[in-house]
């Protein structure tokens, strides 16, 4: 049996800074954003590749919804070892329920033994799409998975998931299944050879022109967080006047409170211990 693995990858524009001056552009400059593939999805791909390697066979298909906006990153994902990429062109909007419609349709067309996706996306973080896809396909769903063990003989998979507060659950379910993957695995670097191959790999495009299900959520507005109130900086009185003035001139640098421990590892540890003792946080037995 050839194991078909589908990994859903979301391309997104990651906003890492707001350096603009214009409120109408939400204080964004072009260089404040970088197109990338959702890091959770990259981990899901890594998991898919590891499953493929542990089985010794299989095919990993990347599935992405919407236009290709991060081509180099998508190609990098292909270079990591995925076999092909299927792109869905549809009017999907931002609603998870609508998105899952198109994804589920593509997945059922391609056919898969295991569907992996990221636990959530870096930009919207709804964390719902995977669950909706599973619902539409009528498949079992496990969220926040950090590792999997496949049992191809019995057609089941054991998924270890994060259950919060350090608790791990191991959930066994039948295949095919949808797993949403949490951070954890170390994502591999593509080898040069594969990267070169991926540069010219064709994308397979599926155009879905139907309306799909209506959106169940509606985005009213998007607004950046209110900037944190700036703390007035107090220069360190131990410094020379010149350096104090220079620090003031440096303006909005917000210093973190507390003392920086220096010295060897041993003395730093001593510092931490004595701090904890001083504040009654350690050292005494709790009643």
């Amino acid at each position: 049996m050839n194991m078909k693995i589908i990994v859903c990858i979301k391309q997104l524009v990651h906003v890492y800074a707001r350096t603009g001056m214009n409120p109408s552009e939400r204080f964004l400059e072009p260089e404040d954003k970088i197109p990338m593939v959702n890091p959770f999805d990259e981990v899901a791909l890594e998991m898919g590749l590891r499953v493929k390697e542990s089985l010794g066979q299989g095919e990993v298909t990347l599935l992405t919804l919407g236009p290709i906006i991060a081509e180099s990153e998508v190609r990098r994902c292909l270079g990591m070892g995925a076999n092909r990429l299927v792109q869905i062109e549809a009017d999907q909007g931002t609603d998870p329920w609508r998105k899952s419609f198109f994804l589920a349709r593509a997945i059922s067309e391609i056919g898969a033994g295991l569907i992996l996706c990221g636990k959530e996306s870096l930009d919207r973080r709804s964390g719902q799409v995977g669950a909706y896809v599973a619902h539409r396909l009528g498949l079992p769903f496990v969220s926040a998975v950090v590792s999997v063990t496949m049992n191809p003989g019995t057609g089941t998979v054991e998924a270890e998931k994060r259950a919060g507060r350090g608790v791990r659950e191991i959930i066994k379910c039948s295949l095919p299944a949808v797993l949403s993957v949490d951070m954890g695995l170390e994502v591999r670097l593509p080898r040069f050879e594969d990267k070169q191959r991926a540069l010219s790999a064709p994308f397979e495009t599926r155009v879905y022109s139907e309306q799909g299900d209506p959106a169940r959520t509606l985005v009213r507005t998007i607004f950046p967080p209110r900037p944190r109130p700036k703390k007035v900086f107090t220069p360190d009185s131990r410094l020379e006047a010149f350096e104090r003035i220079q620090q003031l001139l440096m303006g909005s640098r917000v210093e973190k409170k507390g003392t920086m421990l220096t010295g060897t590892i041993e003395t730093q540890v001593e510092g931490v211990v004595s701090f904890l003792k001083e504040h009654g946080l350690a050292g005494k037995k709790r009643e």
């Binding site: 350096t19 260089e31 994502v187 670097l189 040069f192 220096t262």
Partner: protein, 617 residues
Amino acid sequence: MLTAFDALLFAVAVVILGAGLAQWSSRWLLGQEEVRKGSLTTLLRYFLGSRKILKRPLQGSAHVLVFWGVLLPALVALVSQFRPRLPGTLSNLVSLFLDLLGAATLCALAFILVRRCTKRQEAGPKRTVVPVLVLLGIVVTGFLAQGARLSILGAGFSWQSPVGALFSYVLPASPLLMQWMIRLHFFAVLFLLASLPFTFLRHLVAGSLNVYYKRQNPAGQLRSLIPRSNVPGAGRVSDFSWKQLLDAEACVSCGRCEENCPAAIAETPLSPRKVMQSLQAQMQGGFPLLEQSVSNDEIWSCTTCMACVEHCPVFAEPLDKIMEMRRYRVMGQGALPSEAKAAIRNLLLYKDVYGKGIARRTDWALNRGVPSRSEQTEVLLWVGCSGAFHPRYQETARAMVKILKAGGIRFAILGKEELCCGDPARRLGEESIFAEIAEENIRRIKSHGFEKIVALCPHCFNTLKNEYPSMGGNFAVVHATEYLADMIRLNRIALKYSLPARVALHDPCYLGRGNGIYRPLREIGKAIPGATLLELPRNKEKGFCCGGGGGRMWLHEKPGKRMNLLRAEEVVQSGAEVLGTACPYCLTMLEDGLKNLETGKAPKVMDLVEIVASSIR
């Protein structure tokens, strides 16, 4: 004189020599193709100067004596076969010279023999004793023959041959003895000649060839990828180019690289000598995978400080091999150490190794009136990722701006258009990401029409100066220290405020060994009023690496001691109050090192740029 039989023997020896050399050279000629131009002048200058070998004065001079003490008499003997007519005095002088040279060679050989027999290290040169004994035999039989001849002539002391005369006093006037000695002498020479390709003496040929094909560009310039089908770098010995294999063959395991390698001194698993020797061993036994003999820890312990390249007496380059193996492991196998993966990802996404992003690249210059490109701009100040993002080095960047402004220099920065120069990716073995970034940088610099670039960081400097030209970026690049030294010399800035302190200098590898820049650092140091300049025990070519280069900044310190601590101890012991350096990595590593030592009053680490700025404020 040569009889027909002798000539036949000689021919046989030469044939064996030729066959041996042919068999030996087939070993390294299997390497990949590479175009290298040889330089006869380099070779001649190398032989006549013997500068490299004399860096160890005692052993070096013994080596030089043996070299000339064997070569010159052999030449004279060869020439004398044609019975040239020489005026009496000249031939007497030649005789005197050869006699004295022979005596000196005898001493040198004895010294070498004693050293080889007493200092037997595991990794030291192998198969050396027999050739040295044969050489010794040649010189001794030569003197015995000469002594016997003088004794037969009964001339007593002769000034043309003082040492031979000494022998003649104790030798009988026996023609038979003289004949025997001449025979022995001749046979020993033939034996040496025929056995040359199979013993340690092969290094005569291998070393000379390696010097002949020596690279003519600065040591900081990494070789480009060998264009080959799919495999980047070297996974097997046969993936190296022929010159790289010749390098390995030329290695005599003298250990000078190891003595100067910071990784070896810090007791990490890496020894450049061991790398070269295991390559040599692999070339003889099939072509197994290199991973079997050179471990990951070894490869990733290298700081690419170029000490091994600098100190190799035959210009072999262990660094070059290590880089090739890194390339294979990273690009061929995707096996970059996990801690460095983040840096590479950041480089890809944010175009800098600190992962702060282009949007924040000019934050250090905010409200400081740092000019961007205009009509009158003369030079481009290349700030680099450290200058732009590292909180400590941002101060240096600001200091540089202050100095340039004080000097009335019309400069500009690329600002948000500047990307990482690509050095970290390249030294970590990720050649394709380096190429991507470098091409983009070159395009941007060109589009603004900059021709002269002042680079703040030695690593950027080296990359821009040495590695961009092969990708089409020919710019006049100078390092900040060079530029400041020029400004001081031309009186464009006045250093008014004194720095009454003992200032020690730490040579960054990529300035010093990489590009031969030592003087400007010292000129700047001397120009600072009130400062007393100190040299650390390991300085200039012997300068000790801080441990941050070659991507080590983004790798964990696993085995061995920490290089920055070793250097920091040296700095403290030198009694310096200020340590002047010129590299962001050195600054960070040594500052950390000095803090970790916890001495009472640790020397303050400053970039020379900062020292100059503090003097003009």
